[in-house]
């Protein structure tokens, strides 16, 4: 029963968040503010993780491809497909769920316990729309940019560290990353990313919005938001892979 209660309340909140805005120009400004704080603020961590993961995947794959039947360019193929199909859209989204999700839940949760949300409601402002809608839109628009950035840096990291480690040659790696490339894989990754971005922004926002109590409960809401968002990302990863690729 609990799950139906939360699902129903989540649905009502999101419906309210997408209600008619009081002033479109203010919402537009809020979307850009959120893009900056949630998206641009995550560029650093996405870059570091992607470069190192690309490098590790390259070295591990090269180390495990011992059979002479496997061509050396297969390392490049493996790195490219791992980064595009799974690492960038799913794993980076999980990392963003931790970083962005906790920030969203704690920000909205603190606003709830300090009566800032009540103040918005008293002014006649749709608090769900004003607080949650810009975060969802900013995430859905900006996360695909982060993911493309992650794909590029992961493949670049693999190239640089693969050459430095001497596990792959320049020619083999470039041949690998261009060999039998399917552009649909990028579209599939971006569709997944957009769905994950919606989850990353909306689920922690839901937990923050319905926080009751004080600082302790804000922390709990933040943790719950990140955990549920991560579980939903994994579940939707499986569902979308089944629907889009199989």
């Amino acid at each position: 029963m609990n799950i139906f209660f939360h699902f129903g309340r989540y649905y009502i909140l999101i419906k309210r968040a997408f209600g008619k805005p009081e002033k479109l120009s203010l919402y537009k400004d809020r979307i850009f503010e959120e893009m900056y704080s949630l998206g641009v603020g995550s560029l650093g961590i996405v870059a570091i993780i992607s470069v190192f993961m690309g490098a590790v995947i390259t070295i591990q794959t090269a180390f495990n491809f011992e059979s002479p039947l496997i061509p050396p360019y297969a390392v490049g193929v493996a790195v490219r497909d791992t980064m595009i199909l799974e690492f960038s859209p799913a794993i980076v989204s999980l990392i963003l769920a931790g970083k962005i999700g906790s920030s969203i839940a704690s920000e909205i949760g603190t606003m709830r316990v300090t009566e800032q949300i009540d103040a918005l409601e008293i002014m006649g402002i749709n608090s769900a729309g004003y607080l949650i809608f810009p975060k969802i839109i900013a995430s859905v628009l900006f996360n695909p940019i982060l993911i493309i950035f992650s794909m590029f840096l992961g493949i670049l990291g693999g190239y640089i560290f693969g050459l430095m480690a001497g596990v792959v040659t320049d020619f083999e790696y470039i041949l690998g990353i261009t060999y039998a490339f399917r552009p649909f894989n990028v579209i599939y990754a971006l569709i997944k990313t957009a769905v994950f971005a919606f989850i990353i922004a909306s689920v922690p926002a839901y937990h923050g919005y319905y926080t009751k109590g004080g600082a302790l409960e804000v922390g709990r809401s933040s943790t719950k938001g990140v955990v549920y968002a991560s579980v939903l990302i994994l579940a939707f990863d499986l569902i979308l892979t089944q629907v889009l690729l199989v």
Binding site: E22, K23, M111, E115, Q116, D118, A119, E121, I122, M123
Partner: protein, 220 residues
């Protein structure tokens, strides 16, 4: 003024009046309009006529004092940026905070936060002002400043003001009509003069709980 012990239901009553809590029975009338009979847009129109001073101020942390005060103007008026700024600064001047406009709420004292919250509440010239324990957490001197400010603004703008408090000094200082809530019920109602003379046991226990008030009673 609504007074009563902690947990008696004062804030719950206030939240029901402004629509933050749903009511099970009864009606809340604003100039004859029952708030709970109205649709979403009707409620929104009434809310635009309401100013509210929250216990902790409820200022937006990410905005400066000036932006906080100008916020309702940005949402509901078509004023230009400079007009909004002028109006916000006028309201800040009215609450004696002319130099705080660029500060953030975290940089303000409790009394200053309350004054900014009053400035924000009056920025859109409300018809009704609701104050939830405006003196909580303030020293006696600052409490009097806030009380007087509420009284002055009420008279100056012709606002209907409702104050929730358990501070008897405020009641004596600015109270006109007083309602005493006890265990969620409207237990007693009367004027400031009446409350000092009443023989209602629960009201007396509350009003004369402090030595100061007991001493005052002996003078009557």
């Amino acid at each position: 003024m609504i007074i009563g012990e902690s947990g008696s239901g004062k804030t719950t009553l206030l939240k029901c009046m402004v629509g933050l809590n749903e009511i099970d029975a009864g009606e809340v009338l604003f100039d004859g309009r029952n708030f709970y009979d109205l649709d979403f847009n009707g409620k929104k129109e009434i809310r635009k006529e309401i100013g509210m001073l929250f216990q902790g101020g409820a200022l937006f942390d990410s905005k400066t004092v000036e932006e906080n005060v100008a916020f309702p103007l940005s949402m509901f008026t078509d004023l230009t940026e400079s007009e909004k700024r002028d109006r916000a600064n006028f309201c800040l001047q009215r609450v004696n905070l002319p130099d705080a406009n660029k500060l953030y709420p975290a940089e303000l004292s409790g009394g200053m936060k309350k004054r900014v919250a009053i400035a924000r509440a009056i920025a859109v010239q409300p018809k009704y002002l609701f104050c939830d324990e405006p003196n909580s957490g303030l020293d006696p001197k600052t409490s009097i400043v806030i009380d007087n400010l509420i009284k002055e603004i009420t008279d100056e703008y012709g606002i209907t003001t409702m104050v929730i408090t358990h501070d008897m000094n405020s009641v004596i200082e600015i109270g006109d009509n007083i309602m005493f809530i006890y265990k969620g019920d409207n237990w007693w109602q009367g004027s400031k003069e009446d409350i000092l003379k009443t023989d209602n046991q629960e009201v007396c226990d509350f009003v004369y709980a402090t030595k100061f008030m007991k001493n005052l009673k002996t003078k009557f």
